[in-house]
Subunit: 349 residues, 2 copies
DNA sequence: GTTAGCACTCAGGGAAAGCGAGTGCTAACA
DNA sequence: TGTTAGCACTCGCTTTCCCTGAGTGCTAAC
């Protein structure tokens, strides 16, 4: 059965009113608040139809109607209009994103916080995996006769380092020799394709320097493993307590606990297709993870460079303001992509 | 008025029972549960005395007694016995602290999480300021003809780095020259004493290299500022929801919000005297910050090296198990100090 | 100094009653 | 045929009232 324009309008009004007030919506309310020039009785008939079609539900006989999950889905797919962020909010975001740092993790963590402040939702963000980037340079810098620093720089501008203390003394020449060999083998290969075996065979190749070299190779392995993973940030967990849906303390607590466990949340976010900047809306039981089935999740990918995409997320009750959430997250996503564009391709710094 | 042994014993029993059950404690209960060989009536007399002295309170006439803040204070100062962690818990902590990394921030963040898991409290941790450490080496590593990496290493083994893209091409010799000058001026001075003026005069000293050098000097300034601050970690905010004291959602929410705001919490923790490994207990309104006055805070300093101390904290309701909290945090603190001792003075790595 | 006995207090829980928002159905109307 | 007024009905919420029971303070006896 196709939905007529009037039914669509009524459904939209009900959903938006419910989103705002969290109260079941009655026919009288719809008739009065909006100039549909229809009587409550007529609205009631339409509402009964919408319920039959599965878009609305009734908590109990004498209450108004509440959107069903299918209702929300229809709403976000077909009814939802674009929301425009106020200039004030945009300005606020832009101010907050004026950072001195270029460290990806710091930036993402900050965005996560600002987004939580602005949207009043719980926000999550994952930094991209760097499995497709390459080691550009591996250098060993002498600090003093008993210690040196290993530095790894990737073409995606990630730098990792570690200090080493040596058992004997060490000189610049030996370090140069080491770094030459390491660079030859490991540079310009994508991180994802550096294997444990590769590193192991390097270890065996130079038994005379094993004492100093093995720790460095372990470090390389550690870095490669690290870059192959993404970090997760979460902020504003307290925000979910603002919604009456989480008035039950136990429910709220176990949900926050779930959110604090990065692994699980990361798992969910990984399901988002990489490589395109897009927004996904996952409503209630559309979530695979049972903990999330009482909530909705809005995800938005952002781009660091062609080989690295990260993801932002907003978590709220199923009755969340999808209109605002979507436009907010899209603004953050685009600002973030833009920010990285400036940092990595914006000429010298 | 001096407290007799019997009064002390009764006060202790009341406090420990209240900590356990969160229910006001009646005279009958104390008489039955413990073999004081006293009748409820006698206990009542003693309780009335303790109330008069300000150690106990009565929520209402027909309820039992509840410890007052002064009661808790007396308890932690004079009555509390040592609690011994179970071997199982210790083992669990030790397992969780087996980390591959030597990055201070990662370690602290991890400890914070484990501590929250083990203790069921909200935990905070601050990393030390490094204002007393010195720049040991400042190196510029050439990456390719258009970019180089600046690396700063301090004597407290902190490494910071940043990539620079240059407008023109650059060669190793120029970088050597730069790093020579920078090292000469900035190395072996304590971070806290490197001033903005100092950096500014360096900028002016070499106008011909301004293009490349100024960004590096800005970076130095940034690093110095960063090292002068401490980072704060917080975990297990959801844990406070486990306590009936926070059953009021609004209260709980605003408290979690307060905790998520690092600044404010950092401010509180800074009040702890540095330089000694010790435990402080701050009960309810002894906290200066009004948000904290409904909670108690246990703080414990830990040592990274002679010039750098950090701090761990447990946050719970005033009715918290001080006995367990104190011994838990002390175990964590000592393990942490020990860990850093191994990392920084344990010979080669 | 300790204890038994007793009257008194008061928060919390449960039942009962009343309220009111909202419905579905029917019949009349355009 | 779609719309609307009217009306009886449903049912969750709130308020009120009462009762219960844990716990107290006081008094008098041991």
């Amino acid at each position: 059965m196709e939905l007529g324009d009037r039914k669509k309008k009524i459904l939209q009004l009900i959903i938006e009113s419910y989103i705002e007030t969290a109260e079941p919506v009655g026919s009288r309310y719809i008739a009065k608040k909006n100039d549909l020039s229809l009587s409550p009785a007529t609205i009631r008939n339409e509402m009964a139809d919408l319920e039959e079609m599965g878009y609305l539900e009734q908590p109990h006989t004498s209450a108004g109607r509440v959107p069903s999950q299918a209702g929300y889905r229809f709403y976000v797919d077909q009814l939802m209009e674009r929301y425009f962020m106020t200039m004030a909010d945009m300005e606020r975001v832009n101010q907050a994103l004026k950072l001195q740092t270029e460290e990806i993790d710091k930036i993402i963590s900050r965005v996560c916080q600002v987004m939580s402040d602005v949207t009043d939702f719980t926000t999550v963000a994952v930094t991209p995996k760097h499995d497709k980037s390459r080691i550009k340079k591996l250098d060993l810098v002498m600090i003093d006769a008993h210690s040196f620093l290993a530095v790894i720089v990737t073409d995606s501008a990630v730098v990792k380092n570690k200090l080493f203390r040596t058992s004997g003394t060490i000189d610049e020449r030996t370090l140069k020799l080491f770094s030459g060999i390491l660079n030859q083998t490991l540079a310009n290969i994508s991180i994802g394709s550096i294997t444990f075996d590769m590193i192991n065979s390097l270890k065996k190749a130079m038994p005379e320097y094993a004492n100093e070299l093995v720790p460095v190779l372990n470090f390389v392995h550690e870095v490669v493993t690290q870059l192959d993973q993404s970090n997760l940030y979460m902020r504003g967990a307290n925000n979910i307590l603002k919604y009456p849906e989480f008035a039950d303390l136990d429910k709220a607590r176990s949900f926050i606990e779930f959110l604090e466990d990065g692994e699980a949340v990361g798992e969910i976010i990984k399901s988002v297709p990489e490589g395109v900047e897009q927004t996904s809306i996952i409503i209630g039981s559309e979530n695979k993870n049972p903990h999330m089935q009482g909530s909705s999740l809005i995800l938005r990918t952002y781009k660091i460079d062609d080989s690295a995409y990260g993801c932002l997320g907003l978590i709220g009750p199923i009755r969340m303001d999808y209109r605002k959430a979507v436009s907010d997250i899209e603004y953050f996503g685009s600002r973030l992509s833009q920010l990285f564009e400036e940092i990595f391709h914006g000429g010298e710094s």
